[in-house]
Amino acid sequence: MHLLFLSCYKATELMEKRFHLNLSRKEKIQLRLHKMMCTACANYEKESILIEKGISKMGNSPMSTSEVEALKKKISDKLDQYHAS
């Protein structure tokens, strides 16, 4: 394979890497070229970003107010024990 061309497998891996680290100049160019030529990977990137956002948004407390109060009480009691010991 040509120096500048990536496989779809490699391209999607680089997209993942970019969420955490800076890509090298060569990697950036490779990725940009690949996305210009490959609709599937361009879609993948958009959807991957959307999934990231979706995950970071997920999850609400399943606890009711009374349960929260019960947990507070439990912790306070434990702290009393701790301070008494």
Binding site: L6, S7, C8, Y9, K10, T12, E13, E16, K17, F19, H20, L21, T39, A40, C41, N43, Y44, K46, E47, S48, I49, L50, I51, K53, G54, I55, S56, K57, M58, G59, N60, S61, P62, M63, V68, L71, K72, K74, I75, S76, K78, L79, Y82, H83
Partner: protein, 184 residues
Amino acid sequence: MQKEQLKKWVNDFTDELYQWAFYKTSSAITAEDLIQETFLAAAEKLQSFKGNSAPKTWLFSILNHKIIDYYRKKNSQPILINDNLFSNFFEEDGDWKKGKRPQNWFEEEQQLLDDEDFQKVLQECMSALPEIWNHCLQLKYLSEKKGAEICQELDLSTTNFWQIVHRAKLQVRNCVEGNWYQNN
């Protein structure tokens, strides 16, 4: 005096700390345990808390360490990566397999993110992942830490971490696309 201060924090921050712990561990029991441990650790360390950061920030940093410890213990087994997974998505030369090419989702990003049904599909697809992959996806969002730091704490090599997240993402994306567009 210190005791009273701690109790005030218990009252003020338990709710938020719990929400965070639950979101990170997906387990009510684990989340409760972690919050209790957090406050006990806070009681022990209170002397050294100089008030350089807000109490809430301090408590969250203790909790985040507890969460990382929890995952570290759980994942102390070496991670096995199933190489078959890639052949589900890619040909040997690295091209997408027919039928696995990501399609255009068309809807606006914000519209999808606000859609409760879409959120549900995403959640189901996350929980269908092998546990370790789910953890790695979740850990990416733990505090402000970068992925690389987190992998070090979990004793994973960096390469390993990418591979896991990459695999998890391929799987989740494919699952969401399948479920969302079948039902709509």
